[in-house]
């Protein structure tokens, strides 16, 4: 008898985790809500564009009848991807929360079912088990976003008047890449807490508190942005204050403010001016997201490696 290889174990854990994940009602409900919001965002974008097109067509007829020059269609002058600006808010709120719950479930399912001692007594490396769980999370999030991407592509193709070019498609891909990074960070946060804590209530409440803090509180501390403005992809109406307090908090907590980093990058890729915030460069914002992901990946792998399998069940 030979033990399965690292890759075999990884794939086995990943496929098994995804199978159990699809049977989880909470995860399914949050994913369904996320899809509904994506469809609403697509409909709102299509509806607004169609309205502007209809008004422009009538106005053009009036201008022609009066013998005046017809100005260009404003739809063609706005960035095509800006029709999806609501997506920034949906990913930051519902997408991140769904990812967090999904991340929690991938470890909590095993801990609650009491399967961990059997799992860890098999000839499988714990790092392979952790990699399998990470792969399952990654594939699930990519799967959810891929469906969302298809909805967005279809919406762009059916909308009249949009100037579509290679830059638009690249921008859309960049937006989805950065959205995947953002959601994955929260998924890993959920998984780390589900692995480390002894009670499930703490394992779920703590990452939700962190998510709330990163989304609503940290942007206020770093840039004095009101909670909803921190999520709003359009330019915030607030001018960032230049007081000593915000200069210090922005430089200290700015790199931790991944909600702002996401908003800045996502809005930029969608062609919307991101407005105020701690993130001032795309490179800095991307680095902030990447470092957060790498740190959480390492922390999760270590947590699985050090999990006391003999006392792995939650105490509540």
């Amino acid at each position: 008898m030979t033990a399965p290889s690292f890759l075999q174990t990884t794939w086995l854990i990943a496929s098994s985790t995804m199978k159990h994940g699809t049977r989880d009602r909470t995860v399914a409900l949050l994913a369904a809500m996320f899809f509904v919001m994506i469809l609403i965002a697509a409909y709102l974008g299509w509806s607004a564009t169609a309205t502007v097109n209809a008004i422009y067509a009538k106005a053009a007829l009036v201008f022609q009848a009066q013998g005046k020059p017809v100005p260009p269609n404003p739809v063609g002058e706005t960035p095509p991807l800006s029709v999806f600006r609501n997506m920034v808010t949906y990913v930051a709120l519902l997408g991140a929360l769904a990812a967090l719950v999904l991340g929690h479930q991938i470890m909590a399912t095993d801990r609650k079912s009491g399967i961990v001692p059997l799992l860890f007594s098999r000839p499988a490396r714990r790092t392979a088990i952790a990699t399998g769980k990470i792969s399952a999370l990654f594939l699930t999030i990519v799967g959810i976003l891929a469906i969302s991407l298809l909805v967005n592509i279809f919406t762009l193709l059916v909308m009249p008047g949009l100037a579509l070019n290679a830059g638009v498609w690249i921008g859309l891909l960049k937006f989805y890449t950065v959205s995947a990074l953002y959601m994955f960070a929260f998924a890993m946060l959920g998984a780390v807490c589900a692995t480390r804590f002894k009670t499930e209530s703490v394992a779920l409440l703590l990452p939700i508190t962190i998510w709330l803090a990163l989304t609503f509180i940290v942007p206020q501390v770093t840039s004095n942005i009101s909670p909803m403005a921190a999520l709003n992809p359009m330019s915030a109406n607030i001018v960032p204050p230049s007081s000593h307090f915000f200069v210090i908090t922005s430089s200290v907590f700015g790199p931790l403010s991944i909600a702002e980093a996401y908003r800045f990058l996502a809005s930029t890729y969608l062609g919307v001016v991101p407005g105020a915030g701690a993130s001032t460069t795309a490179g800095g914002a991307l680095l902030s997201l990447l470092v957060t992901n790498v740190m959480l990946l390492g922390f999760f792998t270590l947590s699985v490696k050090n999990l006391d399998a003999s006392r792995s069940e939650y105490r509540d």
């Binding site: 008898m1 030979t2 086995l12 001692p117 059997l118 098999r122 000839p123």
Partner: protein, 244 residues
């Protein structure tokens, strides 16, 4: 031929509390070893260390010659483990659970191995049954099945009869004997029931407060102490439980 299990100066402590202290034990291949001790004596901690669930504080242990720390993968390939309370994925069938563990254990033909194992344990009808709807005895059998799918030379059973009715205990006892005789498995069984070991085991060890206080073959034990009742007395005199 390598020993099935070899434990040398094994110690596990949690802060100032010593759960297992300086344990030395050698178990030959083909033995059915009964590890006796009162609740909290350190039996389960010992099994958890031997199955790689817990790291020892000091000392060494090996399974079929493979060190459990330095050659953990090889050691785990050679063992099967059935915990006191068998827990599996509740929402899926026994077959799906067993398929997962067979693949995780590197079984080359998992489906045929599952069929053969369920036949060996006289429970092929449980294959398509959802684990969540199984009785304690049925779960115990599926738990045993997952542990022997890869035909390990060494099988660890932690309080295997706990919570079973008399018929379930008899069936499990017969299965343990069958696995030992037909597959030649070395069986390491934790129990605090003296009646268990006299009917199933070929040798016993008595653990008291983390220390091994007695070790002998069951034949010698029976010759020395006689029937079950005196064996009970012997156990109590060797391993007195701590005062409440």
């Amino acid at each position: 031929m390598a020993l099935a299990i070899e434990i040398t100066k094994l110690t596990k402590s949690y802060g100032t509390f010593v759960a297992v202290e300086n344990l030395n034990l050698q178990i030959e291949q083909g033995e059915v070893f009964g590890f006796l001790g009162h609740n909290g004596a350190g039996k389960t901690t010992t099994i958890h260390i031997l199955t790689s669930l817990l790291a020892p504080t000091s000392g060494k242990a090996s399974i079929c010659g493979y060190d459990i720390v330095d050659q953990g993968m090889a050691a785990r390939t050679n063992l099967g483990y059935v915990p006191e309370s068998v827990r599996l994925y509740e929402q899926i069938t026994a077959f799906e659970n067993l398929l997962f563990f067979a693949r995780l254990s590197g079984v080359e033909k998992p489906k045929s191995s599952i069929d053969e194992t369920l036949m060996l344990l006289d429970c092929p009808e449980l294959s398509s049954k959802c684990v969540g709807s199984m009785s304690k005895g049925q779960r115990q059998r599926i738990g045993l099945a997952q542990a022997i799918l890869h035909r390990p030379p060494v099988l660890f059973l932690d309080e295997p009869t706990a919570g079973l009715d008399p018929a379930g205990i008899k069936t499990l006892r017969d299965l343990i004997t069958k696995l030992n005789r037909e597959l030649g498995m070395t069986i390491f069984m934790n129990t605090h029931l003296i009646s268990e070991v006299s009917k199933t085991c070929t040798s016993i060890g008595v653990l008291s407060h983390g220390q091994l206080v007695y070790r002998d073959s069951i034949d010698k034990v029976m010759a020395r102490f006689g029937d079950d009742q005196t064996l009970e007395d012997m156990y109590l005199s060797l391993a007195p439980p701590k005062a409440a």
